[in-house]
Symmetry: C2
């Protein structure tokens, strides 16, 4: 992959990056339609995602590119990339390898539901995080 | 609705608001699973959303609460509220009145797909924006 060529692609210039040079990204399971996670990309992460066909995010806490699945093996194969009407949010249709997107070992990061004034975890842990990252 | 009571609800305190006091929100059609839009809420918007059962966002451009559908009639009835693993992103399962979430008159704001290096609008305009807002 020639990153310098990819990064200068015109479609990357259509994106309204925020003041930190980032864009919010929603990852949705291409088959089930379940929203799996939310993360951020910078220009380089998006260029690498498009070039490789696998999701690469920008980790704001670690301040580095984060190839999803690099430690867990839970790679996200990208089937489709969509941009919203304002050009400032991305929606990825993905195939989630291992069926687990969340670092807690659940399918989706959105596993807590508001019920009677409390956030209640309602989805099962599919794999012990220690077995994923240990 | 007693907003002062609602705003002090403990579940609101579980949310990791960003430095601007906002949280990103994904609105998904509860029936089709389609991701319809992405917006932001502050504490008051979320309190009003939970109390009324209809989505209220914080408009960053207008710097005011924005009851979705207040001009268009395209109200979003909230069926479920989910919080992600880090407590800093919300996912709403909604019923989209009028079947249109986007100000362009389309069902979803995510109507442009990346194809051969270009963002291509692929979804139909269901209603002329002039007929919605005019």
């Amino acid at each position: 992959m020639n990153t310098s060529v990819v990064s200068s692609s015109p479609w990357l210039g259509d994106i309204q990056w925020n003041s930190e040079g980032l864009v919010p990204v929603i990852a949705q399971d291409a088959t089930s339609g379940r929203v799996l996670m939310f993360a951020w990309m910078n220009r380089e992460a998006l260029a690498q995602t498009a070039a490789s066909g696998e999701a690469v995010y920008w980790s704001r806490s670690r301040r580095r590119l984060w190839r999803k699945g690099e430690s867990s093996g839970h790679v996200q194969r990208v089937r489709e990339l969509r941009l919203d009407c304002d050009g400032d949010v991305l929606l990825l249709q993905i195939e989630q390898l291992g069926g687990i997107a969340c670092h807690t070992g659940r399918e989706s990061c959105f596993y807590s539901v508001l019920r009677e004034g409390q956030w209640v975890p309602v989805d099962p842990v599919l794999k012990d995080p220690e077995d994923i990252y240990g």
